[in-house]
Symmetry: C2
Subunit: 666 residues, 2 copies
Amino acid sequence: MKNDGLFIIENIKPSVDNGKYPVKSEAGTLFKVTATVFRDGHDKIKVNLKHKKKHESHGWESTEMIQINQGLDIWEGSFILLENCLYQYTVEAFTDHFASWLSDTTKKFNAGININSELLEGEILIKNVLNKKSLSKSAVKILTQYLTTITSATNQTEKMKIFSDHRLDELILIHGQKDDLTVHEHIYEVMSDRIEARFAAWYEFFPRSQGNIKGKGSTFKDCIKRLPDIKAMGFNVIYLPPIHPIGKTNRKGPNNSLFSTSKDCGSPYAIGSDLGGHTEVEPALGTIEDFEDFINACISLEMEVALDFAINCSPDHPYVKDHPDWFYKRPDGSIKYAENPPKKYQDIYPLNFRAENSVWKEVWTEMKDVLLFWIKKGVRIFRVDNPHTKPVKLWQWIISELTAVYPDVIFLAEAFTRPPMMRALAKAGFTQSYSYFTWRNFKDEIIEYFTELTQTNVSDYMRANLFANTPDILPTILQTGGRPAFMMRFALASTLSSVYGIYSGYELCENTAIPNSEEYLNSEKYEIKIRDWSAKGNIIDYITKINSIRQTNPALHLYKNLRFHHCDNNNILFYSKSTPDLSNIILIAVNLDPHHEHETNLHIPLEEFYIKEKDSYLLINLLNDEKSIDKGHIKLITLDPDSEPAHIYRLERWSSKEDKFDYFNM
Amino acid sequence: MKNDGLFIIENIKPSVDNGKYPVKSEAGTLFKVTATVFRDGHDKIKVNLKHKKKHESHGWESTEMIQINQGLDIWEGSFILLENCLYQYTVEAFTDHFASWLSDTTKKFNAGININSELLEGEILIKNVLNKKSLSKSAVKILTQYLTTITSATNQTEKMKIFSDHRLDELILIHGQKDDLTVHEHIYEVMSDRIEARFAAWYEFFPRSQGNIKGKGSTFKDCIKRLPDIKAMGFNVIYLPPIHPIGKTNRKGPNNSLFSTSKDCGSPYAIGSDLGGHTEVEPALGTIEDFEDFINACISLEMEVALDFAINCSPDHPYVKDHPDWFYKRPDGSIKYAENPPKKYQDIYPLNFRAENSVWKEVWTEMKDVLLFWIKKGVRIFRVDNPHTKPVKLWQWIISELTAVYPDVIFLAEAFTRPPMMRALAKAGFTQSYSYFTWRNFKDEIIEYFTELTQTNVSDYMRANLFANTPDILPTILQTGGRPAFMMRFALASTLSSVYGIYSGYELCENTAIPNSEEYLNSEKYEIKIRDWSAKGNIIDYITKINSIRQTNPALHLYKNLRFHHCDNNNILFYSKSTPDLSNIILIAVNLDPHHEHETNLHIPLEEFYIKEKDSYLLINLLNDEKSIDKGHIKLITLDPDSEPAHIYRLERWSSKEDKFDYFNM
């Protein structure tokens, strides 16, 4: 039997699983919150959005919420996420007794009813505020003044005029008692990430393959020389597969072969040898100081490094000797290698995150400490390998512990598994997620998947980082579609999401796969590669152009603003991205068929941009700088997969009118 | 840093606001629950649905859940709601180590890999169970037997055969340790109401208007005489507006007039006089014993009484004298009458459910005690007047307190207000709700509204009791459409929902309104009425027929089974209701236009009933007993609003085949 909290406050959005996990947004964003709020009866109510930085000790700030839908009692408020940190928010409501009284009394007065008794009630409401002990002297002074003027007024009209003074209303609202204040029972959280969580272009390369001498691996020093070219293409995150000492026992040979010779460099994912483990650097790449130099070289080019966090240990990893109880054991006491029966991965020992007798605590803590080690070296982005094969709560703990101190650290989940686990990892705190993008090639499936990713509740906690290829995935469309497919898939990756990536070799349209698989033939995972970066047929110019378009058009920096539009050809995908103020409107049409030219009528949603059917507008094809002045919502286009698989237009208003001419109003 | 609960268990359905409020169902229902459940890695898992009666002290029962969608990790389980009471349920999961081991080992064995080490692991798994202290002697015996047989087996094939014995798997599952058991953090509730919460036909009458002498009100004794006729029509709930002493001060005259004479009977909603309040009976109706006789007369006819619970007090109510602090006061100390400015309701004093200094507790408790008083007199259904003008938490408290002891009590919320409040009252515990049915007259709006009511999450907690009319609402469609509209709207109310009602006079097609309003002219709320129940043009036969159809067709006893189907005329609504086992399939087509005959092709969804396009089936029009043998999914029908505004078909399979003939297989 409780008489407090008599308001109903529900349906607070955005929220993830009713507030169980934080929402994600970015610093600089105006964070809008809606809620359904009401009480019984017809009294006037006030609703506030309360918010604070989580790790700040002092109190809550309040901003007033506005009723945006009366019939459904929906209220909306907002605050700016000023910093890169975790914020908390919730909603409170209370009855505005004075406003309720004023509204009722005004109605009666206007209906010619004697309101003598009501006016006395109004005076009592002011007196109640004056009786509050904490009231400031100035408030007492002004309120007393109001009361005196009201009491001395000689007729109801005059009294009502004073009562209706908006400043009185405000004073009472500030100083009066919120006697039936209801605060929602749950505190919600929003992680305000730095902008790069949402907007970035990733480039993945193997540091040992950045040289040009056959059979000789490159070093971090060589990698520094590669940076200007990558920067010139417009990338700003350099993502490196593991850089740690590579195991020798059961080292894999070319094409994942079980047999290797002393010449084979091994897979960097088999981590650890007598030269060290997860906090050491493979000597063939250089020293840890060389790696730090590499980080600094990136920073000086306004780029940053993303490190791979792969938990796999080779049989030679120092953990095996130092902490055998961190691993799974066979009945004979030997350590178990990784399996996916009947497949064996004898070059890898998985850690046991459920190890008994609190040993798991050591394992969890070590994983956190490894990340902390690299954070302290200046790394602020981690791509986590196969997080779905470790407990979700491990990640939830690691990420919340680390981001509490280093909120600028970005974690990308490399999980390609069933949707519930993909979502669970994002909810648990991963800043970004790999996606099914490489397997979504046709119009309907792209629209369905990206509508889910960007327009539903999923977008409140998951950001898809679209990789057009990875060392593990050479998609069928690239194998069969060749160069036009590479251009088309690049255009899609870089414009469907604000954050995307490619793995090096993409710009050279490398597409030789192991037959009947999506694995690269002679994969770089097991071999050192030498490439001719200016090889014929490369699409470096195309990549450079689109990255430059991304950079200069703010609409492409946003993630949730993707909208699909109609066009009458099933081979052409038509969509837009625009800024909330419509100052930047980008229209994108992509030919999904790498083999044939297609023509279509784009149905431009002019009404969404507040452009009338009769108004002219300018379309600038940003890829070739062609301009056209158009009118009406239909535009016929042709997309040739070889030369221009995509059109990226900026739509500009045609606002030239005589009445804007200087002399018009002279 | 927590290592327990490493499973993800989420999205438990049905649930209301993530388990904040109970779901509603009825005793006798197979209650199905689904959840998304998974863990990292590919180990085999077991998922259980745990459930118990809330008010029972002893432990939980478990039923195994089955994975119904592998790609989305969805599991389903169920239990039968045996009793009319509140149940609790939740979901737990754990790793089935033995099954995981067996599956992996079988794969390796089938691939020809040596599994010596794995077989030792299997033996250890059995030994672990044997080491448990609590193990029964018989379990020890059988498990030891298995272990001995395995150890003494001479080759891997033999050992695997024994390990694969399903009884061993079961034994280990029952007795083994669930070392990583995760129980979902929240306990969900489902109120298992009695069937009448879902399936009933209500008839509302004013007990003072059941006589036949002009100017003389009838008594409970007279009402008893009316019961057989109402029973004959097929109703089973008799709902009475308030039966308490009526106030005299500011008593309303005919048509809600502010002036009345001593002859006027007043509105039964102005409750309380010197003759008593909410626990007394208006003497003009008889004594409380007479009322008990009336209840018993209903019971003997297998009907029951629903009482109105209207909290309004007349200025003469005993509360006013005995508890003036329960009411709102004006500055001069007088009690405030009800208002909706500038309108005044001077015959009614509202109670103050927020009265200061804990006085509100007296008011809340008194309301509960009033209901308890009538419950003890045998009343088990209450129609609550205007619950939305009182705190929602008042109802939540009253209903949970009362149903904990009397789970068979049904509460109908008479709220016609904004959707969030309608839903909040249902969530707070109201068994049934009034709805917007009277204002939904056209095809699109009926489909939209009833899809929301019966097919969305709303159906998990709200049951709409469809009143075709009420003393307050004479819908425009009935005013303009006359007798055909009364038949049409009756057919809709009684088949769209499993629970519905009419207010007496409906069967006589009474439809004279105050001009430009939906209020009855000379409303029975303020006057005693005498009616000729056999007046020409009555639709008693039609009502009787449909109630009989409802009674004998189980599909019409269900609420959530409403499905709309296509027909190509916008004036005809076509829908079905069927039992889960499809043993009873009802198809309903209603002409929504009371003024014109309409024809249409019904598109019968044969595939939903597992009837093939080439198969014949029987359609029986239950309203006129006409039969037709049909084939294919198109059926042309004509609906004449005067004679048959609706068709209600039972669809029966035509299963007569030669191979079912006795001699066929001789």
